[in-house]
């Protein structure tokens, strides 16, 4: 018996993989059915659904990039403290001191890449008319995922706490000041008064809710950190689960009738 066979006959191996290697039809079916990750797939699909010409693999690549971001993100969290005192210094340390000194790079370029691949994925879904019934709802989920991807990127942009980040976020959050009804410089703000007292002021409008203050500072850093590392990823993970589930329930990758 070869070494490989011995391993595959061992109790340990068999306790993990419940069937022989996927070399024949029966076991190729079983491997998909019995493995948690692989069972996201159907067992068999139309040939055209695996053609790179058709899907460009962009949805899959977006999902993979999200995984890369999660892993590198967790590693970065080991080093990073979201306070005005430490954030920038921790960036310097990540660049100059920490071994595997490209963590930040992989995380940042992966994030940019994900924005692009999500756009390309949307373009492909549009070009193939795959948003049409019965896939309307999954398109809507996709739009929400697109927004979440952008928000994840945006909240992460603040964390290095350098000139680039605070001013980019200042530009972005200043727009919230002008939100109709909800921003203190927006149209309709004057309508929300009680006895001449404004309800919406620079200390109570949406920008204040976003930043936790009137300008980008310690409070904003903390809020963006929590959004970036916890709230948004959880939400995105959940919606991706729904997205993949619906791809299957809507009849698999779209194709001509």
């Amino acid at each position: 018996m070869s070494f490989g066979d011995k391993v595959r006959q061992s109790q340990l191996w068999k306790s993990i993989f419940r069937h022989p290697a996927p070399v024949d039809r029966r076991n190729r079916v079983l491997v998909i059915l019995s493995n948690l990750i692989l069972h996201l797939h159907p067992v068999a699909i139309q040939k055209h659904a695996v053609r790179l010409h058709y899907t460009w693999c962009m949805g899959g690549i977006s999902a993979f990039l999200f995984l890369v971001e999660t892993i590198t993100g967790v590693l970065l969290m080991f080093y990073y403290r979201p306070t005005v005192q430490w954030a920038y210094n921790d960036m310097l340390a990540l660049r100059d001191v920490v071994s595997l000194g490209v963590l930040r790079e992989i995380h940042r370029w992966g994030a940019h890449a994900m924005v692009i691949t999500v756009w390309l994925h949307m373009l492909r879904v549009f070009l193939t008319g795959s948003y049409k019934p019965p896939r309307e709802f999954n398109w809507v989920i996709g739009v929400v995922l697109l927004v979440l991807t952008l928000l994840l990127s945006f909240t992460g942009y603040l964390l290095p706490w350098d000139q680039l980040s605070i001013w980019a976020v200042t530009v972005g959050s200043n727009m919230a000041k002008a939100a109709p009804m909800l921003g203190h410089e927006g149209p309709g703000q004057q309508l929300l008064t009680i006895d001449g007292v404004d309800l919406i002021t620079s200390g109570s409008d949406v920008r204040y809710a976003l930043l936790g203050a009137r300008s980008v500072g310690e409070e904003a850093l903390n809020r963006f950190y929590v959004l970036h590392c916890i709230a948004l990823p959880l939400l995105a993970t959940f919606l991706m689960a729904v997205h993949f589930w619906r791809v299957r329930k809507d009849g698999g990758i779209s194709g001509p009738l």
Binding site: W109, L120, L123, L164
Partner: protein
């Protein structure tokens, strides 16, 4: 990156050598595939070999710090021709040509010629310090990659759509139909995914090793950089601030973009045409989406990142970013044009306080703008529903039709405002600072 030329040439050398070699290698592969295919492709393989040789030569020159670049006359001419308006409508014209001539442009050899032209233009431009300075900013590198990726995938998608449209005309099913047979996910899909993951990891690692993540000076709330730019994917919104006020550009329009995207399947709701690339059967929806995506989303991002400098002034590709350049226009509101230029009277001034009377006076001052908006958002849709788009109204029903037309009018508001800004320096159609309403 320094503008001192010898130092610059030394710094840029490695990048240029790399890029020229990539272009050469891609042409080499194209030539090899052409030679194997035989026939007419053989002949073209010769051309690709010539390109490969040219790029290799350029790589060698770049390695010796004498990279080939565009002549100054051409650079000056390009910069002189570029402006926010020419860029928008030039790109629109180019896309229209590509669209109308798509049967021609999707031929692989034509596509590859365009690809070579793009790489040639990019690599030659990169020998210019100002071009390099903007384009090679670490956060801008992905945008450049996106332009090339988008070009390739648009070509790939259109090529399949053109083929399918031809087949449908001839009464055959779309190409996707030929692959209706089932196949097992292990190994056929799982292995593709694995290879994708390995390749992508390699790309990310190389990218991370070559380009360092930017880290500027520590945050300083009292030192505002000029310009302060939003992250690149939001720069399109920032660019819209040139034409709209923050409430529109930053809140209303983004909300409508998201809403409009989410509504697409409910506006284009027929089941036919799903699951294969096609253009012929869905021209209207296709053109609207592509206009929104390419012109209003991608192009505005490119303008905002590559062409806007200090004070949000417009700069050419090869110009130094002069911090003292100010935007030129003295803009006027429609109320002034209407009362002063047209009627020759003073713009009415509402009294400083006094509830309803003041409100009416403000409305009176803005009467021209309000009329324009009413015609634009109510009149035109009503007329369209009775005339040009009668069929759409009948097919879609009132609710869907109204939503679609209003979204379309919002979309078109941007290019229309661009034209008005260009021709009559118009700032706002309706301008009521009293209520923070600007349109």
């Amino acid at each position: 990156m320094l503008v001192d030329s010898s130092e610059f040439l030394e710094e840029i050398a490695a990048t240029l050598v790399g890029l020229h070699l990539v272009a050469a290698a891609m042409n080499g592969i194209a030539a090899w595939r052409g030679l194997r295919a035989g026939g007419g492709a053989r002949l073209r393989a010769g051309a690709w070999l010539a390109f490969a040789a040219l790029f290799t030569l350029f790589a060698i020159w770049a390695g010796q710090h004498t990279p080939p670049g565009l002549p100054d006359t051409i650079k000056t001419a390009i910069d002189a021709a570029l402006g926010p308006v020419t860029l928008f409508f030039g790109s629109l014209a180019a896309l229209t040509v590509l669209y109308l001539g798509r049967e021609f442009f999707v031929r692989p050899w034509v596509g590859w010629c365009l690809g070579n032209a793009a790489m040639l233009f990019f690599n030659l431009s990169l020998a210019d310090p100002h071009f390099a300075q903007t384009v090679l900013k670490p956060d801008n590198v992905p945008i450049v990659a996106m332009i090339f990726l988008l070009g390739y995938f648009l070509w790939l998608g259109t090529a399949q759509a053109v083929e399918n449209d031809r087949r449908l005309r001839q009464g055959q099913g779309p190409r996707e139909k030929d692959f209706a047979e089932k196949t097992l996910v292990w190994p056929d899909l799982v292995y593709i995914e694995l290879i994708c993951m390995v390749a992508l990891s390699a790309v990310l690692i190389v990218w991370a090793l070559v380009v360092r993540a930017p880290l500027e000076q520590p945050a300083n709330p009292s030192l505002t950089p000029n310009p302060s730019k939003a992250p690149w994917y939001f720069v399109g919104l920032q660019e819209m601030l040139v034409f709209f006020d923050p409430a529109m550009a930053g809140v209303v329009l983004p909300t409508l973009i998201i809403l409009g995207l989410a509504l697409i399947p409910f506006l284009d709701f027929k089941t036919e045409g799903s699951g294969y690339y096609s253009i012929a059967g869905r021209r209207f929806g296709y053109l609207v989406f592509m206009f929104g995506f390419l012109q209003l989303w991608i192009l505005l991002i490119l303008v905002g990142t590559f062409f806007r400098g200090p004070n949000w002034s417009f700069f050419g590709l090869y110009e130094p970013r002069d911090p003292h350049r100010m935007p030129l226009f003295q803009n006027v509101n429609l109320a002034e044009l209407f009362w002063t230029s047209l009627l020759g009277r003073a713009v009415p001034r509402p009294m400083a306080d006094g509830g309803l009377a003041r409100f009416t006076a403000i409305l009176w001052r803005e009467i021209a703008g309000i009329a324009v908006l009413l015609v634009y958002f109510l009149g035109i849709p009503l007329v369209l529903g009775r005339t040009l788009m009668r069929r759409y109204l009948a097919n879609m029903g009132k609710a869907r039709f109204t939503a679609m037309v209003l979204l379309l009018m919002m979309m078109l508001a941007l290019p229309i405002k661009m034209i008005l800004r260009w021709t009559c320096h118009l700032s706002y159609v309706v301008n009521m600072p009293e209520y923070s309403i600007y349109f």
